[in-house]
Amino acid sequence: MSGKIKFFFIDCSYAAECCNKSQYEEASLLEKAKLMMHLAICKTCRKISAKNSKLTHLVKQSKIEICPEENKQQWREEIKKEFAEDRSQT
């Protein structure tokens, strides 16, 4: 019996991992259940978990865009070329 109970009780660092995974929809059902159990008894993790969800929401809301790698590559080359020319002139 105690083994079964232990199975469901997890420590805070494992809870944090489950919490992060669930932010990316990558937590398994078991991990979610364990997280829920932990959140029921741990106030600190409840706070952290709420913050974590808020962060996910903010990032989504902000619509940050990462510019495409091909553009970056093009800029890198442009800069390299110009920089080399500058160096050779001076």
């Binding site: 944090a16 991992e17 992060n20 995974k21 932010q23 990316y24 990558e26 913050k51 974590n52 808020k54 962060l55 996910t56 903010l58 990032v59 809301q61 902000s62 619509k63 940050i64 865009e65 990462i66 510019c67 553009n71 970056k72 093009q74 800029w75 890198r76 442009e78 800069i79 390299k80 110009e82 920089f83 500058d86």
Partner: protein, 183 residues
């Protein structure tokens, strides 16, 4: 020796995402944004000798980018004005109306919200700049690009548990930074 030195080879990795989001807020067109950033980098290289090192590299690049954005609007506005006056408002009676049409719609609340969200994006990128570079990079790939765990692990040559620890550290640092700077 100035307080800040220029390191052009790192510009793209360090600042391009920030510059891109900064520009997108203001011009709302990807291609134009790309062109403007490209021009900014080149102009910055040309005037690198005038960089005194008083401001940070990014601030300096942003100040150049601002000029480029203003120039861009000057250019399209002069074009737009000419076309519309000639085509739609040729008679005296309607003269001046085209100007009114250029004014922003006050009741367009969503545009303002959009603007605030974009500013939030810049704040997030700002915070990402201040945390560990590798962590920030992995966080961006995972959260913003939405790449799946396995692909990122291969890309950076790490194990999934490494990845989750890095994500955890990045998220904690980012949350703390945003709490300080955004709210």
């Amino acid at each position: 020796m100035p307080a800040n030195n220029l390191d052009p080879n790192k510009w793209v990795d360090r600042y391009s995402d920030y510059l891109f989001n900064y520009t997108i807020v203001r011009v709302n067109n990807r291609e134009v944004a790309n062109d403007l950033i490209s021009e900014t980098f080149l102009a910055a290289l040309k005037s690198a000798k005038y960089f005194k090192g008083e401001a940070s590299e990014r601030t300096w690049l942003i100040s150049i980018l601002k000029r480029k954005i203003i120039d861009y609007y000057r250019k399209i506005n002069s074009r737009k004005g000419r076309a519309e006056v000639k085509i739609n408002y040729s008679d005296d009676y309607n003269e001046g109306e085209w100007l009114e049409e250029q004014v922003a719609d006050q009741f367009d609340k969503t545009a303002e919200d959009e603007m605030e969200n974009r500013e939030l994006g810049l704040a997030i990128l700002d915070c990402l700049d201040s945390i560990n570079e590798k962590h920030a990079q992995i966080f961006k790939r995972k959260t913003i690009d939405g790449v799946d765990t396995e692909a990122i692990c291969n890309e950076f040559n790490i194990t999934p548990s490494n990845l989750w620890v890095i994500i955890h550290r990045a998220r904690t640092a980012l949350a703390a930074c945003l709490e300080k700077n955004w709210f």
